[in-house]
Amino acid sequence: MLLIHCPYCDEKRPEIEFAYGGEAHIARPLDPSALSDEEWETYLFIRSNARGRHHERWRHIHGCGRFFNAVRDTVTDKFETTYKAGEERR
């Protein structure tokens, strides 16, 4: 079971306290109706599926409840870093 550092609680906590939230830094378009079908498809469905460094969202759902971002290596399953939502991509 992984230990995950919650940047809000500033503590490493067991994985069961967290929920995975998919790839990070995919902002919902401000005006979806202005998007073409292809652009909307890209937003909805197309993900990087990275082998290696992966930016992803986690939520400390059984803790503080906050969403945050993480960089995890999908090969080694090791977290490189976690940071608060809204901060620059690392």
Binding site: L3, R28, P32, W40
Partner: protein, 953 residues
């Protein structure tokens, strides 16, 4: 010497004799014996029958790595454990053990005929032989194979034992309490570190238990560690798996060794999070591969030494040794020093260290260098061996009554590999050793490759002048895999060791190849003509040794398997005869049978009561979210399809929630309590999901909105009062709310008090009748419920359950998200276009409603179905076709999602998802069901009171 027990040797307690039975016969051993040592002491050599060929088998190793001597132990009803290793079963007074995989008895096993039919059971035989005809597999081949080839029987009764579990944290976890593990723990004894020392055996010491020279050091070390307050010692505890971030799973066996197990937990699962882990799992001696190496009495040299020095048991009067490694010579010398005559030492090497030869000469032991055992005589016990020079010449017989084999050592890398540490091939050891760590873990002692056992050579299989295709030289003893099976796999084109493993099943038995992996790898590499490192090694996976399901399940069984959520009114429902059904984690009253009614009679009566007078229903399980803040209306406006900003305080609205892909995910009614406060309801099963979805958007997409979300599902008891007399009942109660239709119209909410407690009173209906949902703080629910029931007596108020609720809503065409939708249904598909705010620029999922696939024709629409035979109730889930005469497989148009008998209409009704359903109105479709194909006509979904006249009263 009594039997094979050696006077004065071993750690067993001679003062305490222990009587036990094996296959019904009574034996005696001493406290401290394992089942294996006690039986060996009594002269038993035959312990079991092999998996495939039913060959007689004895014990091969002295520890958990033994592949042969699997036994079953029974302790009364439900307490039957198969496939235990005789070498790891501690005896206690009254132990009842039995052998496995034999019929009618261990000595006379009819299926031993398989051994002579071996030519029909090569590697992969079940893939080749039983392929045709295909239909025979399930009914004939598989059951027959399972009966013939197998392990112990599965228990047939429920395990009455209970199992406990604990989380524990430590700074240092040491796995294995042999010399290296003890030293690692001793280094921190008395420090400020929290240390846990784990060992799978009944006492600490590992190999030191088999070496009297270390006895004094061992006793002192154990005393020091026992006295150290910072060290927790867990014996009879197996660390079975190493998981992320130094998380180690271990099972402690608490009662299996006790004659009186008592009422405590049988086993304890330890979930250990360690700062640092030291793996001191030791090394396992390798068998040698030659014909007859599985004969009872052929065993690892180190095991023979353990039986002598730890248990005081000689494996024979004059055993011989077959070695490719110096360590076997040392074991033979130690045996000789203990009074056991060694009949001969055979070594495959042409030369060995002079010191070994001198010592053998001093002890008068005959030595045969450059030679190999090429056959073993004796079926249930070794009576001699045949040897030959490696050139094939000079065949001769050596009389002996046991054979030790010493093929070198394999470091135990299981947990290291679980932790994803890398491994490197060590040519001198002929084995893999740990390389780079992936966690904060290190190996110590023999499992790190640090061994002081002399040198040896690696021989995939011993040389033999016999025809290699006609002999059985075992590699994997538990799965009956021979050297020629591995050769066959390679000849048939399997080049990866992972494929060779699966084709031959080498290393796939319950011992996970502890004694066979490296030999199998060497054989495969030789056959492929490639270096071992190029062939690779199969993956180690938890558990290190088999563990019970009980230990892994722990308390999570029966009533504790999953939490059962109950509403405050649940007790009343139980007292009043409700039949319950599970709805997500809730248990809900399903219906309330009276006087022996069956479900249909009860539901029909409940439906009539609601339509004709008044019914009362516990709706407390509805998900509830309090949405609060200056931007609450804006937030809901963005989340739901409907418009919310103009909704006045005191009014309610049906809300439809889509996912961003445009499909319906939830629905519910929300009431505006005040300009900045909404009381939002969700489906019973969707509450947590909807709240998580709202939090996601609020936190990550619209952090600028000033809104707070709070789950209030369990804070409110919700009493639905439905039926034409609902207002009459409510009026009879003490309330300050004006209930008149003018003051309190349909789809509105009022705050006030009822029966002296605060209430959020909703005028809403999921039945199509005049209805109220009375929300009171949860703790007042039962009291208010009872007062309403009392006030409703003049009107025959009738409690109803979820089944009646379903029928009533279906009569009105109200959908249930998750039953009538399945994650692929849009608002248009469900006929809910009216719930979409047409003027809204955006909401979650809006853009997707214009996706090409969603606007394309031919989508499945939710429609009503009326059967031609009004008394026939279709099966939910039944498929729908246009033409029942078409050839199979038919083109399926959709399926029935909801189907009931409608008491109000006196006929059946149904909803269905049907391709192009909205264009098929009045069309007749066909529903094949078991026994008959039924006809039904596509209709609208509102079957009862389409004008809604009954609600607005």
């Amino acid at each position: 010497m009594s039997g094979y027990r050696v006077t004065g040797a071993g750690r067993v307690d001679r003062a305490r004799t222990v009587a036990f039975t094996f296959d019904g016969q009574t034996y005696q051993g001493y406290e401290g014996d394992t089942l294996a040592s006690a039986l060996l002491a009594s002269g038993v050599t035959l312990f079991g029958r092999s998996f495939k060929y039913h060959r007689p088998r004895g014990v091969m190793a002295a520890g958990v790595e033994d592949a042969n001597a699997l036994v079953s132990v029974t302790r009364g009803p439900g307490r039957f454990t198969p496939n235990l290793r005789a070498t790891a079963v501690e005896i206690y007074e009254g132990l009842e053990a039995s052998s496995q995989n034999r019929w009618p008895s261990l000595k006379t096993d009819m299926l031993a005929v398989n051994d002579r039919l071996g030519m029909f059971f090569p590697a992969g035989f079940y893939n080749k032989t039983f392929m045709w005809p295909r239909s025979f597999w399930e009914k004939l081949y598989e059951p027959t194979i399972r009966k013939m080839a197998g392990l112990g029987n599965s228990p047939t009764e429920i395990d009455p034992d209970h199992y406990t579990a604990a989380y524990v944290h430590c700074d240092l976890l040491v796995v294995g309490a042999g010399r290296a593990g003890l030293e690692a723990a001793l280094a921190e004894a008395g420090s400020d570190k929290r240390v846990i020392l784990i060992d799978e055996q009944n006492e600490l010491g590992g190999w030191a238990l088999s070496d009297p020279d270390q006895a004094q050091w061992l006793a002192q070390s154990v005393a020091t560690l026992t006295a150290a307050a910072n060290v927790r010692i867990l014996t009879r505890c197996t660390a079975f798996g190493f998981y992320h971030d130094n998380f180690v799973g271990a099972v402690e066996r608490l009662t299996d060794h006790l004659a009186q197990p008592g009422s405590g937990a049988r086993e304890k699962l330890w979930r250990i999070r360690a700062g640092e882990v030291v793996l001191a799992q030791g090394a396992i001696e390798r068998p040698l591969v030659f014909e007859g190496n599985d004969t009872p009495g052929v065993m690892l040299a180190s095991a023979a030494r353990t039986w002598l020095y730890r248990y005081g048991v000689a494996i024979g009067r004059r055993p011989a040794l077959m070695a490719s490694h110096d360590s076997g010579w040392q074991d033979a010398f130690a045996m000789a020093a203990g009074g056991v005559t060694i009949s001969a030492i055979v070594d495959v090497r042409d030369t060995v260290d002079d010191a070994l030869l001198r010592q053998a000469a001093d002890l008068g032991i005959a030595v045969h260098l450059g030679s190999s055992v090429i056959g073993v005589s004796g079926r249930h016990k070794v009576t001699g061996v045949e040897i030959a020079a490696n050139s094939g010449t000079g065949r001769k017989r050596i009389a002996c009554d046991a054979l030790m084999m010493a093929g070198g050592w394999t470091p135990t890398l299981h947990l290291w590999s679980h932790s994803k540490g890398t491994i490197a091939w060590d040519e001198s050891l002929g084995a893999y050793v740990p390389d780079k760590a992936n966690e904060n873990v290190r190996c110590a002692g023999a499992c790190s490759g640090q061994m002081d056992l002399g040198t040896g050579v690696v021989v995939p299989a011993l040389p033999t002048p016999k025809d290699a295709s006609r002999i059985k030289a075992f590699v994997d003893f538990q799965n009956d895999v021979t050297a020629k099976d591995i050769g066959l796999a390679v000849r048939e084109g399997f080049k990866s060791i992972e494929h060779v493993k699966r084709y031959t099943t080498n290393g796939m038995a319950t011992d996970q190849g502890k004694t066979s992996n490296i030999n199998g790898l060497q054989l495969a590499a030789t056959a492929l003509g490639r270096p071992v490192v190029d062939v690779g090694l199969t993956t180690f996976r938890p558990p290190y040794t088999p563990q019970t399901f009980g230990a892994l399940a722990g308390h999570a069984k029966d009533a504790l398997f999953q939490a059962t959520r109950k509403t405050g009114i649940d007790g009343w429902a139980q007292d009043n005869g409700a039949v319950f059904e599970p709805v997500s984690q809730w248990r809900r009253a399903w219906y309330f049978p009276q006087d022996g009614e069956d479900m249909h009679a009860a539901v029909n009566r409940e439906c009539r009561a609601v339509r004709e007078s008044v019914g009362i229903f516990d709706a407390s399980t509805l998900g509830k979210i309090e949405v609060v803040g200056p931007d609450a209306a804006e937030f809901l406006n963005r989340m739901y399809t409907n418009p919310w900003k103009m909704l006045e305080p005191g009014r309610c609205r049906y809300g439809l929630l889509l996912r961003e892909d445009g499909f319906i995910t939830d629905d519910g009614v929300a009431g505006r309590i005040s300009p900045n406060r909404f009381h939002v309801t969700t489906t019973t099963g969707g509450a947590a999901r909807v709240l998580a979805m709202m939090e996601d958007y609020l936190q990550t997409e619209w952090p600028d909105l000033d809104v707070w979300l709070t789950s209030t599902t369990e804070q409110w008891s919700v009493i639905a009062l439905q039926g034409p007399r609902a207002r009459d009942v409510l009026s009879a109660l003490d309330t300050d709310i004006d209930l008149s239709p003018e003051a309190f119209p349909h789809m509105s909410v009022r705050l006030g008090q009822i029966c002296g407690v605060p209430v959020r009173l909703f005028r809403v209906s999921f039945t199509g009748e005049l209805g109220f949902e009375i929300n009171v703080p949860a703790e007042y629910g039962p009291a208010v419920w009872k007062q309403i029931v009392a006030a409703g007596q003049p009107y025959g108020i009738t409690p109803y359950g979820t089944e009646t609720m379903h029928v009533l809503r279906a009569e009105k065409g109200y959908i249930i998200v998750g039953q009538d939708t399945d994650g692929t249904v849009t608002p248009m598909d469900a006929g809910l276009n009216w719930a979409i705010g047409k003027k809204k620029k955006d909401f979650v999922g809006k853009r997707s409603l214009a996706r090409p696939d969603i606007v394309a024709p031919g989508r499945k629409h939710l429609v009503g179905l009326l059967t031609e035979d009004p008394s026939l109730v279709l099966e939910e889930g039944a498929q729908i076709v246009a033409d029942p005469a078409q050839p199979v497989p038919m083109t399926m148009l959709g399926h029935v999602t909801s189907s009931y008998w409608s008491e109000a209409l006196g006929r059946s009704i149904a909803f269905a998802l049907v391709a192009g359903g909205q264009e098929r109105m009045d069309e007749t479709l066909h529903i094949p069901m078991p026994g008959a194909v039924h006809k039904a006509q596509v209709s609208g979904m509102v079957f009862f009171d389409p004008e809604g006249a009954r609600i607005n009263v």
